[in-house]
Amino acid sequence: MLSPGEIIYQALFYLFAGAAVLAGLRMILTRNPVYSALFLVLAFVNVALLWVQMGAEFLGIILVLVYVGAVMVLFLFVVMMLDINLATLRQGVTRYAPLGLVVAGLIIAEIVWAVWGHFLGVGNTPQTAASALSNTRELGTEIYTHYLYAFEVAAAILVLGIVAAIALTLRWRPATKHQNPGQQMRVKADERRIRLVDLKAGKKGEES
């Protein structure tokens, strides 16, 4: 028999997990891309709550901060700024649907087969860490010792991402309207940038 605490714990788990699954489904099935992005945000928030429930508060908070706060908001802006033609998006659904259904069916069958069987065969499922450990501290220690090499390589990938993105998008075409910060900074205040013109008061229609 489960204790009341365990029942609440399980109920919360199924609440968050169910909401995440539903949000994921709605994200794919909804027609408006803005709603899709918002449902993805909902799915992220629910997964973050699941993580917090498992004792990984730091990861949960980071997920909300980074994915919900930054990535998805940026994504929403992009979706809103692009003029997406829904008709062309929906074109060819019937053409590709059979193949998609076959692939989806295969993957679902594989997962069900593997999970249903004897809970995955070899090895153990990872246990949640003892609650006495501060998981933020542990993450930091792990990243800067055991995974330092991988961490540095990931940093190199980020540098590469910036270089590649700038190399591919930054271009100086004569027609573009852009600021030249250097030129702006060089302007001196005493140079007469504004010319004050005295206008004589006169009657309407009269040349000044």
Binding site: E110, L148, Y149, V153, A156, I157, L160, A164, A167
Partner: protein, 480 residues
């Protein structure tokens, strides 16, 4: 808990390279007239320094560092040295070509060196996490290199296809790795292998993971069923980028197979052998037959790469030291031939003209007997005709397959090699027995390019006449 000096010394080439990339990146912003020369010779100097460091670190036993994320062993060191040499050669080949097209920017050098860093990380990775990061570092640099000529529609299209397929394969790789991790509870290659030996029987989940991981590897190597990107990328991308994309990443892909499949999932050899056999048969067939119909030499060489990928897989699927030695020898022989062939294509191109159609090679012998001869050596070597290196590479691979009693596969590979020989020999025929349709100007190129291309051509001949040294080197690293 912490890291010791040996960790840093083992990864010194990577550290030097990353430092040099940062310096060159900043230098590219501030230098004006001297920029191209500083970046070019700075990159070459960095590569030379790394080669010296790797030479000093060379050892025949393996050392695992960085808490099991990094491995330094003989195979890795030899592959690294080849990566340095090939990258250096590509830099020398591409300079005049890119200058004429206005693509010789600071980003080009940064992206090339980043790709080299990705290949190095992949070659020396000893955990699935680092393997994945190496794949990404290499792949993202390559996408950007292909897309670098932005005003070219075909290049952008090629980059887009490359990127989408690459993203799918990276997803498959992560998915497969997560299954393997979930079932074994470890990311480390050595621990994974030990666990698989210890466990009795294999679960279905492990097969799922294995299948997805192998799909991603097929993408890296350019083997069927993930070969579709090769022809489009080769055709669309600037020739000098292709010279890189077709060579160094293939060395890294070979290391990827060796690290994850052989060292990590080696106990599952009975299962993955059949997957690799199917991939090899598909690659050999498509590479040999579809290439015949290509009027574009870059597309033709793309299918040739697929064909060679099939041969490399033959060596790996044999599953013993003899097979691995043959596959490594084949990989190294292939990159030398490939870079040489693209060197000639780059040499023949000039401003506003890409020598990428087969007809452009008509009568090359009349215009430039020596470079026609270099191309002849590359083509005969790729076709597997003695005394060139390609012959011994094919011979070793087929010997390894016969050694594990897969005679039918060996016979099939030979038949496909004979079919493939047709399109290599067609180039020879065009160069020597046909006449150019219109008057082409004489070939002009800087001295360093000419010299290096000649050395490259003679290497194919020299290593073919005396294959013992390289073969022995490939043997030592696998303990034979």
């Amino acid at each position: 808990m912490g890291l010791s000096a040996t960790d840093y010394i083992a990864a010194l080439p990577e550290i030097v390279l990353l430092g040099a990339i940062c310096v060159l990146l900043v230098a590219a912003v501030f230098l004006r007239e001297t920029r191209d020369a500083v970046l070019h010779y700075g990159s070459l100097l960095t590569i030379a320094v790394m080669a010296i460091i790797t030479g000093f670190l060379l050892r025949d036993h393996q050392m695992i560092a960085w808490h099991g994320n990094f491995i330094q062993d003989g195979m890795g060191d030899v592959l690294l040295l080849f990566c340095y040499a090939i990258t250096g050669a590509v830099l020398v080949y591409s300079r005049p070509y890119l200058k004429e097209r206005g693509l010789l920017s600071g980003e080009f050098y940064v992206l090339m060196l980043m790709a080299l860093l990705g290949a190095m990380v992949l070659i020396q990775a000893y955990s699935m996490l680092v393997l994945y990061l190496g794949v990404e570092l290499l792949a993202i640099s390559m996408y950007a290199l292909v897309a670098l000529s932005r005003d070219d529609g075909t290049a952008s299209e090629a980059a887009m296809k490359f990127f989408v397929l690459g993203a799918i394969s990276a997803g498959a790789l992560l998915f497969g790795m997560s299954w393997i991790y979930g079932l074994s509870g470890t990311l480390n290659i050595g621990v994974l292998s030990a666990q698989l030996v210890g466990s009795s029987g294999t679960s279905i989940g492990l097969w799922v993971g294995l299948g997805f991981v192998i799909l991603a590897m097929a993408f890296e190597l350019g083997a069927v069923p993930f070969h579709m990107w090769l022809p489009d990328v080769y055709e669309g991308a600037p020739s000098s980028m292709v010279a890189f994309i077709g060579s160094v990443p293939k060395i890294a892909a070979f290391a990827f197979f060796m690290r994850l499949l052989v060292e990590g999932l080696g106990p599952l050899h009975d299962i993955w052998m059949w997957l690799l056999t199917a991939m090899a048969v598909g690659s050999l067939t498509i590479g040999a037959i579809v290439a015949i119909a290509q009027p574009n030499i870059k597309r033709m060489l793309a299918y040739s790469t697929i064909n060679h990928a099939g041969f490399i897989l033959l060596g790996i699927l044999a599953g013993n030291a003899l097979g691995y030695r043959a596959a490594m020898f084949y990989t190294l022989a292939y990159v030398i031939m490939f870079v040489g062939a693209f060197g000639v294509i780059i040499l023949m191109s000039r401003s506003g003209f890409e020598a990428d159609m087969l007809d452009d090679f008509k009568g090359l012998n009349e215009r430039s007997p020596w470079y026609a001869f270099v191309m002849l050596m590359m083509m005969l070597s790729m076709a597997g005709i003695p005394p060139f290196i390609g012959f011994f590479a094919k011979l070793e691979v087929i010997r390894a397959v016969l050694d594990v009693n897969m005679t039918w596969l060996a016979v099939y590979a030979v038949i496909m090699a004979v079919i493939a020989a047709f399109y290599y020999l067609r180039i020879v025929k065009l160069m020597y027995f046909d006449h150019a349709e219109d008057k082409q100007p004489a070939i002009k190129a800087p001295a360093d390019l000419r010299l290096l291309l000649s050395v490259n051509g003679l290497a194919v001949l020299g290593l073919g006449l005396f294959p013992g040294g390289l073969l022995a080197l490939c043997g030592i690293v696998f303990g034979i």
